[in-house]
Subunit: 170 residues, 2 copies
Amino acid sequence: MEGKVQVYTGNGKGKTTAALGLAVRSLCAGNKVVIGQFIKGMDYSELKLPQYFDKLSLYQFGRDCFIRRNPTEEDINLAQEGLEKMKAFLQDPSIDLLIFDEINVACEYKLIDPKVIVDMVKERPKTMEVVLTGRYAPQEFLDLADLVTEMKEIKHYYKAGLKARKGIEF
Amino acid sequence: MEGKVQVYTGNGKGKTTAALGLAVRSLCAGNKVVIGQFIKGMDYSELKLPQYFDKLSLYQFGRDCFIRRNPTEEDINLAQEGLEKMKAFLQDPSIDLLIFDEINVACEYKLIDPKVIVDMVKERPKTMEVVLTGRYAPQEFLDLADLVTEMKEIKHYYKAGLKARKGIEF
């Protein structure tokens, strides 16, 4: 089966969540899946997922809080280390699905050059599916992608003052 | 924790997938999750998910193909049976997350009256999170929801002639 490139972007809830859903669907089909999460390193519930699935690996390339503006040198170094790791995964034909979670945000904050990702992804084994998530998907990713969904916020409880909840948002 | 109502709608890929992602995140947090899939009964990869998680149950209330227009009496009966089952789950305080997958489509095809769902959901235990997915979310659901995300198709490989793929779309 030929692998495609999927992008999930937009300001609404459901991007990382959809990537997780894709991961488990793929795992249920017997596939090997790797998730790399950029620009975040908090204790998400989903970090436990590899305990349930032998064929899933999950890595975090960020710090303990989601970065906003003005990334530090540490943020840049972590993202670059992540990039190197993902580059190696992109050359591993045994991986069926490779997820770059929040990579769009890493590009928006100039931690990573989207052109580098595009070149890497184009050179991957033909069978590998790649998923790129996060707000602010760069034009380079939209051009590269076979599928793009914009998650559009119509209504959000954050606006009503509700904070992120364990097991729902993280 | 107070449960909210989330709606995932729109014409883009990622609605059922996001609901699956929410389910596994919630399961990883130790919660009990029930998924009811309306208007479809195909052999999806995700049907294997309960093999990995003791606290997940998944039911299908549809036939072996996704219904389009002109539902038959059998479609109506299956949806109504599903509704009865989900009504019972909605009264079970041990369930943390209850997912009505494709319920929006079931309402669009007049298999189910959205007002009946709204009344049922309003009466649920306060701790239960409810997720409603599918294209064509009825206005009643948008009004009820605390969170609504529209999955908007920007680009889709179906348009390039690609068929649904095991482990990716099902």
